[in-house]
């Protein structure tokens, strides 16, 4: 978090996206700014009214578009400006991360956090930690490779399939 942390150059700089709610985490990140705390510049913030608005598709899309890590952050339970948005989000993401895990996405690239408007320090900590972790892991190859790969063109190993193909 000091000057040395930011001036060190690394071979790989990950791209991070943070989906944050405007009332708590966005404000917490603002506080980190007004307190002149330092953290890696890898993160790009997308502001939402509430974590309840964040669709899992956005996370998927971010990975597909080249994000190496995704952070989702909102108000602590009970602090939601809209009363219950973060509670719904909590369930939605608990399910979604299990799904991603099941299809083989390394969950170390996906971080969830509660950062309140008063927790500038926690924002810095969460972003720094995720950046460093993802930097260590290297680029997220999976979706990039997927995007580059073409449609299935399996060999006709199956005799039945071969016969069917040749009869066309």
């Amino acid at each position: 978090m000091t000057a040395t942390a930011t001036t060190t150059k690394h071979d790989f700089e990950p791209k991070l996206v943070a989906f944050v709610c405007t009332w708590c985490t966005y404000a917490g990140a603002d506080l980190a700014g007004t307190s002149r705390m330092q953290y890696p510049s890898n993160v790009r913030v997308v502001k939402f009214p509430c974590t309840g608005r964040i669709d899992p598709v956005f996370i998927l899309r971010a990975f597909q578009k080249g994000a190496d890590g995704v952070l989702v952050s909102g108000c602590h339970p009970g602090d939601c400006h809209y009363m219950a948005g973060n509670f719904h989000a909590r369930r939605r993401f608990a399910a979604f991360r299990q799904l991603l895990d099941f299809v083989g996405v390394d969950l170390k690239r996906l971080q969830f956090s509660w950062v309140s408007a008063a927790e500038g320090g926690k924002w810095v900590e969460v972003v720094t930690e995720l950046t460093e972790r993802v930097r260590e892991m290297g680029p997220m190859r999976e979706f990039i490779d997927l995007d580059a790969s073409e449609h299935w063109s399996a060999e006709l190993a199956d005799a039945e399939l071969k016969a069917a193909y040749h009869s066309l």
Partner: protein, 665 residues
């Protein structure tokens, strides 16, 4: 093709020290759809804003990105400037390159690269912004107040004094609520009736207040500014217009031995009665369950003696529909009954305290009636069993409250203070009597409260014993109290003449039913929930409905009155304008695609989503879709994230906008 203008602010040196602002402007210029980009020392200054307005006109811009500080700082400033330049204010977005960039990074290249990315994201976003118009909802400037206790009375008077019409609905035959039952009030020992009855009369005489007593809210429809309320006026059997309140009917009624619940069944009343002499309105009501006429068709004395001919046995329940713009809920509380099984508790009441079967074990409200000058004993403290004056009185606090296994985990808040008051009232009336109080903690946060409690010990010589009572049982004409003094660490036994239990404050029975009618939320105990525990403590999550008093949680009189006035102030704020205006960040439904699964409705914390029928020209039902009431929608967007087909969209945060931002990665 969009024509976006990008304005990069130096913020003095706050941004330009670490971000190469010229480079950011140059990069912005290269973005598709950007028609103009420049940088300036202070965008928020007057010349900075003038620069923006000039550029909008000169370059015919259709969107603006100001790359500067946090939108929480200056979004309003720049949206206003954009509006003055002739664009819809919602076509202006801020790229936060100060708090999120220049202030938190030191490497100039990195910070500049990030700033360019942030600007790019916002440019893509603003290209997809829609023109939004502020939402306005008409407001009916009449308020409904439910409950005629001190909370409802205070709220009604405040709103009525501000010049707005108030409809006050009270379930009982008279307003007054619990406060009318109290003898004296802490911490000043004012006589409750003395300070309460003038307010009750004010309500009755107020030209702006329509009072419906012996009435209940039947149905509530609509939303903030526009509620329709159906009120059931229960048949009183007495014509309010004709009755003069002379009281002859009550005097002549042959049925005189009906326990009066107002006096906690200690006193008796006739079948045609007012609950207490100062009742407002002073119009009796016939208790049809106990009235001989209604039971057997005989008697009819009251009708015969009534000069004005007000007694009307044929009266039916009536329904009144009122249009109101705001609702204040002030339905108060019930006291926990030790013979009852509280909600969610596996245990049936307090067997160890005799299940309410010991006649000289009473609750605090009964003690109030005994101590009240207008009560059944004329203010003398007498035992219910034999009418003797008790010389040893034991008070037990936290009965029901703070008893998790009894299903109530909360503190009832008022018991410590009223028990202290009871010990004083007792000492004032029975000089040679001794009061004992078993307590766990004395919770006296309030102005003059702790001093009051200490006074009961230091001056009125009440003996406070820290420790809960294990058991009570009748022994001869005494009640043996088995307790422990945990400061000494030994058991204590007292043979009491009278035991007074400070029973828990609970929500009104059936509180949840009213909540369901109103569409407001309630907690695990059925207390009504406020929108925010700290910042919106008098508002319900449902817009236009406000809370006052103990229906929200245990409260004493000062807190209740404060909250009632606060609720009234909220109503007045709402009524200050003819139209309710609000930011247009609300959800909208695409009715073409909505399949009416109502997942959105399930997740909406505001109850903003309604079911809307789509009919063809012949009036045949085509389908049922969701409809977002823009007056009620809070704008969180949880509905959109939940909707499988994305048929509901939050203006200002559409999928298109968000995905476009992600696309820039």
């Amino acid at each position: 093709m969009s024509r976006i203008g990008v304005f990069v602010c130096h913020c003095g040196e706050n941004i330009s020290r670490t971000v190469d602002v010229e480079k950011v402007a140059e990069a912005a210029r290269g973005l598709l759809g950007v028609a103009h980009a420049c940088d300036y020392k202070y965008m928020c200054s007057d010349p900075g804003q003038a620069l923006l307005k000039k550029a909008v006109a000169e370059h015919r811009l259709d969107g603006v990105v100001v790359a500067a500080c946090s939108p929480r700082m200056h979004e309003k400033t720049f949206r206003k400037a954009t509006e003055q330049a002739g664009l819809n204010p919602f076509l202006c977005e801020m790229a936060n390159i100060r708090e999120h960039c220049s202030w938190v990074h030191e490497d100039r290249d990195e910070a500049t690269a990030k700033a360019i990315d942030i600007v790019h994201m916002l440019v893509e976003r603003v290209k997809r912004n829609r023109k939004l118009q502020p939402i306005s909802v008409p407001v009916t400037k009449t308020s409904l107040v439910i409950g005629g206790g001190i909370a409802g009375i205070q709220a009604a008077l405040d709103i009525a004094d501000a010049g707005h019409r108030v409809v006050l609905v009270e379930r009982e035959p008279s307003i007054g609520g619990h406060m009318a039952q109290l003898s004296e009030t802490f911490p000043t020992l004012d006589c409750s009736q003395c300070i309460m009855t003038p307010k009750m009369v004010d309500v009755a005489n107020h030209p702006n207040i329509t009072l419906h007593t012996y009435s209940e809210v039947e149905e509530v429809d609509g939303y903030i500014g526009n509620f329709q309320v159906k009120i059931r006026k229960k048949a009183r059997s007495v014509d309010m217009a004709r009755c003069t309140g002379c009281g002859v009917c009550m005097a002549k009624c042959p049925q005189k031995k009906i326990p009066n619940s107002f006096d906690r069944d200690l006193g008796m009343r006739p079948a045609i009665y007012v609950p207490f002499p100062q009742a407002v309105p002073n119009v009796p009501v016939i208790d049809r369950v106990n009235c001989t006429w209604f039971k057997s068709g005989k008697c009819g004395v009251c009708q015969k003696v009534c000069g004005p001919g007000a007694v009307d046995y044929a009266q039916q329940d009536e329904f009144v529909v009122e249009q109101v713009g705001a609702i204040v809920v002030a339905t108060g509380f019930n006291l926990y009954d030790i013979s009852e099984k509280p909600k969610g508790s596996p245990i049936k009441g307090y067997g160890e305290f005799g299940h309410g079967k010991i006649p000289d074990v009473i609750d605090g409200m009964t003690f109030e009636r005994l101590a009240s000058a207008s009560g059944p004993t004329g203010g003398k403290i007498l035992r219910p069993s034999d009418g003797r004056e008790p010389k040893q009185v034991v008070f037990v606090q936290c009965v029901g409250s703070r008893a998790r296994e009894k299903g109530i985990s909360y503190c009832s808040k008022i018991c410590c203070m009223y028990t202290a008051k009871h010990t004083m009232l007792y000492k004032h009336k029975v000089h040679d009597g001794q009061a004992y109080v078993f307590f766990m903690d004395a919770r006296t946060p309030g102005k003059g409260y702790d001093e009051f409690w200490r006074r009961s010990i230091e001056q009125e010589e009440a003996v406070y014993i820290r420790g809960m009572v294990s058991r009570l049982y009748q022994k001869g004409d005494k009640i043996v109290v088995m307790g422990s003094d945990i400061a000494v660490g030994i058991q204590v036994e007292i043979e009491a003449d009278l035991v007074v239990l400070a029973t828990a404050v609970q929500p009104r029975q059936g509180a949840e039913l009213l909540a369901q009618k109103l569409g407001i939320s309630y907690d695990q105990y059925n207390f009504y929930s406020e929108a925010h525990a700290k910042l919106r403590p008098v508002e319900c999550a449902t817009a236009g409905i406000y809370l006052a008093g103990a229906c929200q949680g245990p409260k004493d009189i000062p807190d209740t009155v404060s909250q009632a006035s606060a609720a009234a102030a909220k109503v007045m704020t709402l009524f200050a304008k003819d139209q309710l205006e609000r930011e247009p960040i609300v959800a909208k439904v695409n009715e073409r695609f909505c399949v009416g699964c109502f997942a959105c409705k399930k997740v909406c914390a505001y109850g903003a989503i309604e079911e809307k029928e789509i009919r063809d020209r012949q009036g045949n039902l085509v389908k049922v879709v969701a409809y977002v009431n823009p007056g009620v929608c809070g704008g969180c967007g949880t509905c959109q994230a939940t909707c499988p087909s994305k048929s509901v969209e939050l203006d200002g945060y559409t999928d298109e906008q968000i995905l476009a931002m992600i696309e820039t990665l």
